[in-house]
């Protein structure tokens, strides 16, 4: 406890919001920030969108029919698709982290590759769900 009241540590705040788009993130960094963005999105939408939709889907045959009616609107489909993307990205990126926790694929090359796989798989699945959602079959 002796030095807990030590001199203030130096802070280096050399990041700038205005230049945010100018920073070059490696693919693993992009997967990481999208993991955070998708998690925050799902957190915010949980009581606002996801739970009301879930309630409508299971409560009664009438509310289920009402949900199908609601979901026939393309804008609503788009909202659902964004949430599907968020879930899929968070799911895939999360599995990548669990694998990294086991010290598998820790070197730079494999870590970049696995980040690419996360984007590839989550976006491909989003397209599949999107096609299904918009009635491609």
């Amino acid at each position: 406890m002796s030095d807990s009241v030590s001199k203030p540590r130096p802070q280096f705040r050399n990041l700038s919001i205005a230049r945010l788009m100018g920073y070059r993130l490696p693919l693993a960094g992009k997967a990481s920030i999208m993991h955070r963005v998708s998690g925050a999105l799902l957190f915010l939408c949980l009581p606002l969108v996801i739970l009301p939709l879930f309630a409508a889907s299971v409560t009664s045959p009438e509310s289920y029919a009402g949900l199908r009616e609601w979901a026939s609107n393309p804008v609503c489909k788009l909202v659902v698709l964004v949430l599907i993307w968020g879930y899929l990205h968070h799911f895939c990126a999360g599995i990548r982290y669990l694998v990294l926790d086991l010290h598998i694929g820790m070197d730079k090359v494999s870590a970049q590759k696995s980040a690419g796989v996360v984007f590839g798989v989550s976006l491909a699945l989003t397209v599949v769900f999107g096609l299904k959602l918009f009635g491609a079959w």
Partner: protein, 127 residues
């Protein structure tokens, strides 16, 4: 204070010691949710025709009279809330430096998630 907590002769390492627990909790809850996602997905695929009864049955099925569907969904949702608490708290800790604002955001996050759990439990257990 044991000698093991001392580094060198001057420095004493202190901390709340919740970091490791939260690290482990976040991963265990993630695995629970991932497994439940697959259970739901394949349950849906093999539930036959897509209609209200088959969909609701994914959450209300019983095994030998026990409400297994509701119990699994509750387990997964509580995992979700705990997982989200750790994740969102980490976001505030990374970007919000003022102690007062951070405390307020932590409190709001907890209220938000507790409300979600109660909302979900009410929907699920009144089926």
């Amino acid at each position: 204070m044991t000698t093991q907590e001392r580094i060198g002769t001057h420095r004493l390492v202190v901390g709340a010691h919740y970091g490791t627990r939260d690290f482990i909790v976040q991963r265990i809850t993630a695995i629970i949710m991932a497994v439940y996602t697959l259970v739901l997905f394949f349950g849906f695929l093999f539930s036959g025709e897509v209609n209200f009864e088959n969909w609701r049955n994914l959450f209300t099925f019983t095994v030998l009279g026990a409400p297994v569907g509701q119990l699994l969904a509750t387990l997964a949702f509580v995992s979700l809330a705990w997982h989200a608490w750790i994740g969102v708290r980490d976001i505030w800790m990374d970007y919000v430096t003022g102690a007062g604002l951070r405390l307020a955001l932590h409190a709001l996050t907890i209220l938000w998630l507790v409300a979600a759990v109660v909302f979900f439990a009410k929907i699920l257990w009144s089926l």
